[in-house]
């Protein structure tokens, strides 16, 4: 006699497809490429740190300058994504949810120092 199979999981919720910090960084990279006509691109690299965190590095890359890459910011988070840390210009800021992350990211991308980097790379690439 075989015992009936029981589902001990209970109901596993179907997770709606949501954006992650990585997808947002990649999107911003594509927007940079579109806005500059491909003269600059945004590249994201991902790795696991010794502490087990996911580390996403966001680079602004200039293909016409031999793929020169400027590390703009790093995002560090655990398996649960939040809370996370955003590292920029030697400082770090915490983000406890996606809204805070997007606000922080927007602030960094609009910063005068970031614009300065973009302008400098565009000028040296012969675009301005």
């Amino acid at each position: 006699m075989s015992a009936a199979t029981k589902n001990l999981w209970g109901s596993i919720p179907v997770v709606a497809k949501t954006k992650t910090p990585l997808t947002i960084l990649r999107e911003q990279g594509r927007i940079l490429e579109e806005e500059t006509g491909g003269i600059l691109v945004g590249i994201v690299t991902t790795r696991t740190s010794a502490q087990g965190e996911m580390v996403h590095n966001f680079y602004i890359q200039a293909p016409l300058l031999g793929d020169y890459s400027h590390l703009l910011l790093s995002v560090l988070h655990g398996a649960t994504m939040f809370p996370m840390e955003v590292h920029f210009e030697g400082r770090k800021a915490p983000a406890k949810n996606m809204e805070t992350f997007e606000r922080l990211l927007g602030g960094i991308l609009k910063k005068p120092s970031t614009r300065e980097v973009i302008n400098s790379l565009l000028v040296q690439s012969g675009a301005l």
């Binding site: 790795r47 300058l65 020169y68 890459s69 400027h70 300065e116």
Partner: protein, 243 residues
């Protein structure tokens, strides 16, 4: 030539180098972006052969064009002094610089890389040996295995020849930096100035041609106690190698 702590004197240094050896023009390799780095590169290579790849406060990476489609990555590092950092801080800084270098290797599709500079760590510091940091080993044959698996992830080796430059029986002085303090643990001599070589270019690296320089021409860089003459020259001794 790679200098750390050049104190914004690149023009002066460039002039001095060209005065000392006028037959071959030496130029300061200008950074792409306004840099807060304490590192400066000087080169005698023809224009265009050495190009910046990325610049960071503690690490500059340049590509040296060899033959068509072939290049060498030269990473210059100057990590912060352990006199002002904890050992953990230094490990994290080492990880950050090593990750920057690994990112560039991945983006450029090769590991023909050497890293040189003032690491402010000895070859046996966790920041030099840990797999997530520089992962630099003392054994050339081990380095030639290229990588090892740690907790399910592949980590590539650097070879660190500076292990052979520690202590009295090494070639040259016992280290590249001397620091005495009145605390129980004091190493006195350190080898903070190092070069690391990836296995892909190790066949071009001759350890016998790596030197810690204690004398330039007839001038000793050491004081009467045999330690770096920081009053007249520098508290570090330079290293020289060929590849």
């Amino acid at each position: 030539m790679i200098l750390c702590e050049h104190a914004d004197r690149t023009a002066h240094i460039e002039t001095a180098l060209n005065k000392a050896a006028p037959s071959r023009r030496t130029s300061f390799v200008k950074p792409v972006l306004a840099s807060h780095s304490s590192l400066a590169l000087f080169s005698r290579l023809t224009h265009g052969r050495l190009s910046p790849v990325t610049e960071h406060r503690h690490c500059l990476v340049h590509a040296l064009a060899r033959s068509k489609g072939d290049e060498l990555l030269i990473a210059s590092v100057h990590l912060q002094s352990p006199l002002h950092q904890s050992a953990n801080d230094l490990l994290l800084l080492a990880q950050e610089s090593a990750n920057l270098i690994r990112d560039q290797e991945r983006q450029r599709g090769h590991r023909q890389t050497l890293v040189v500079g003032d690491f402010n760590m000895d070859p046996y510091h966790p920041g030099m040996i840990a797999s997530h940091a520089f992962h630099a080993v003392m054994d050339r044959r081990l380095a030639m295995e290229e990588s090892r698996m740690v907790q399910g992830l592949e980590h590539h080796f650097f070879y660190n020849p500076m292990w052979s430059r520690l202590g009295d029986d090494s070639q040259g002085p016992p280290g590249t930096f001397f620091y005495r303090k009145a605390s129980p643990e004091c190493h006195f001599w350190h080898v903070w100035d190092q070069v690391l070589v990836r296995p892909a270019i190790l066949r071009h690296f001759d350890g016998a041609r790596l030197s810690v320089i204690a004398q330039v021409g007839g001038t000793s860089l050491l004081d009467h106690r045999g330690r770096p003459n920081s009053k007249k020259y520098s508290d570090h001794l330079p290293i020289v190698f060929e590849i």
